[in-house]
């Protein structure tokens, strides 16, 4: 056996020992592949924000907000600044609006106006995370 091959074998053995050591170092019960958080869970967490964004895309919502002097861009910015959990909280309010009712639009606009103006101005305190500027 040439010294070259011998060295190769030695390195291989050393590496496998090293690898074995690494595996042993892992505490029992950790399974990286199985513990990964899946994209669908992340998407579910972001679903509230997506609902708010889609709601703001609606032409009738935009028009109704504008009619009350609230710019859709400001509303969009506000939604973007919410964490996933906060967005889910607001989205739940919109989701709770009776689906077939004639005044869903009114409910949606009311929620956004609350979120954007009165809560932030400190007149109301509906959402726990809005910080008053007063």
């Amino acid at each position: 056996m040439s010294s070259r091959i011998r060295r190769l074998v030695a390195v291989t053995v050393a590496m496998s020992l090293n690898f074995a050591g690494m595996v042993h170092a892992a505490p029992a019960g950790i399974a990286p592949a199985a513990q990964l958080i899946g994209a669908e869970q992340v998407a579910d967490a972001a679903a509230g924000r997506a609902l708010l964004e889609r709601t703001l895309d609606r032409a009738d919502v935009a028009a109704a907000l504008q009619a009350r002097g609230v710019s859709v861009d400001a509303a969009r910015e506000r939604v973007a600044s919410l964490t996933d959990a906060e967005a889910a909280h607001v989205a739940a309010q919109i989701d709770a609006a009776p689906a077939g009712a004639s005044d869903v639009l009114g409910t949606i606009v009311f929620i956004f106006v609350l979120l954007l103006l009165t809560d932030i101005l400190g007149f109301t305190k509906i959402f726990p995370f809005t910080r008053s500027i007063r």
């Binding site: 994209a39 992340v42 998407a43 077939g100």
Partner: protein, 316 residues
């Protein structure tokens, strides 16, 4: 939902009068005033197949039309069982999406704008739409496929009911579509995305596809299509990372999680990055990432608090 299903396929064309005196609704008016640049005046996707609906089966007929157009071997009959399976509280729209996924295609929600539907048609992408041919309080639900338009004539071209080539005035279409929540969906092959899809809808589509299909190669492809257009999308980065991990490509997975963690400072991304680093033997990095996951979970993403806490424990 039962009531909705029974009403789902009203005869197309009924209850469409009575709007004319009010003038065109906002989107139609905007399209007439300023047609989107680059849009041809007329489009007719004649190649999109037509399946005349049997009673109450407009959903499967519409779905078969777009799926066969994309090269999937389905029939309205084969889809009917899936779409009409009695479901708990799931709406019919949800069943349309899951039937699309089971056929192997990716359903992607389109923006609720008339101009988006026209741009898709001009891009040879037919869209399934839900119409409410009745009034908001007496709904008559109907699925149809948008296969073209005629801007000068102000018409939308549909595969609808038992009519292969139905022309509907844009005004009527907009009213009936709007009353059904402006719901429109395109079905694409994994790896492709409709032209007008929004980022959140594309990511939703990829995540939903993940739920339905196990093969990591295909999942990776779908998330990859989202990342080609939006390289920083959190859901798609996490999705492609987990798909890569499932194929044993841990360096690739770590790269995706790292990108997501750096860009979004998301607890879920840090959590996954820690696992990938651990798998690669980078134990110190793994511990650091796990601690960051816990910090972020505490600060902003409470739903990952438990997973992050557990991981920090495990990696000690």
């Amino acid at each position: 939902m039962r009531r909705r299903r029974l009403l789902a396929c009203a005869a197309a064309g009924a209850a469409t009068s009575g709007c004319a005196v009010l003038g065109p609704p906002p989107q139609t008016a905007a399209l007439i005033a300023a047609p989107p640049a680059g849009l041809p005046p007329r489009v007719d996707l004649d190649a999109v197949p037509f399946f005349p609906q049997t009673p109450f089966h407009c959903g499967p007929a519409a779905l078969a039309s777009v799926l066969v157009h994309q090269g999937y071997a389905v029939t309205p009959e084969s889809l009917a069982d899936q779409v009409f399976l009695p479901s708990r509280e799931g709406s019919l729209q949800v069943e349309m999406l899951s039937a699309t996924r089971r056929a192997g295609a990716v359903p992607v929600r389109l923006p609720g704008e008339l101009s988006a539907l026209l741009r898709e048609a001009a891009d040879a992408m037919p869209a399934v739409v839900l119409l409410n041919l009745g009034l908001s309080f007496v709904p008559a639900w109907h699925y149809a496929v948008v296969v073209g338009f005629d801007l000068p004539a102000r018409e939308v071209l549909l595969r609808s009911g038992t009519t292969r080539r139905m022309t509907m005035s844009m005004t009527t279409f907009e009213h009936t579509w709007h009353r059904a929540g402006s719901w429109a969906v395109a079905a694409v092959r994994p790896g492709r995305l409709p032209l007008t899809a929004r980022e959140s809808d594309a990511a939703d589509a990829a995540a939903g596809f993940e739920r339905a299909r196990a093969q990591p190669e295909v999942r990776g492809q779908v998330h990859g299509s989202v990342l080609r257009r939006w390289p920083d999308n959190l859901v798609a980065l996490v999705g492609r990372g987990t798909a890569r991990a499932a194929q044993g490509d841990w360096p690739g997975a770590a790269a995706d999680f790292d990108h997501a963690a750096q860009r979004h400072d998301s607890a879920a991304a840090w959590h996954n990055l820690a696992l990938a680093q651990w798998q690669l033997g980078r134990t110190d990095d793994a511990r650091r990432s796990a601690r960051r996951a816990q910090e972020r979970a505490e600060a902003a993403d409470p739903q990952w608090r438990e997973a992050a806490r557990k991981l920090v424990e495990q990696l000690k």
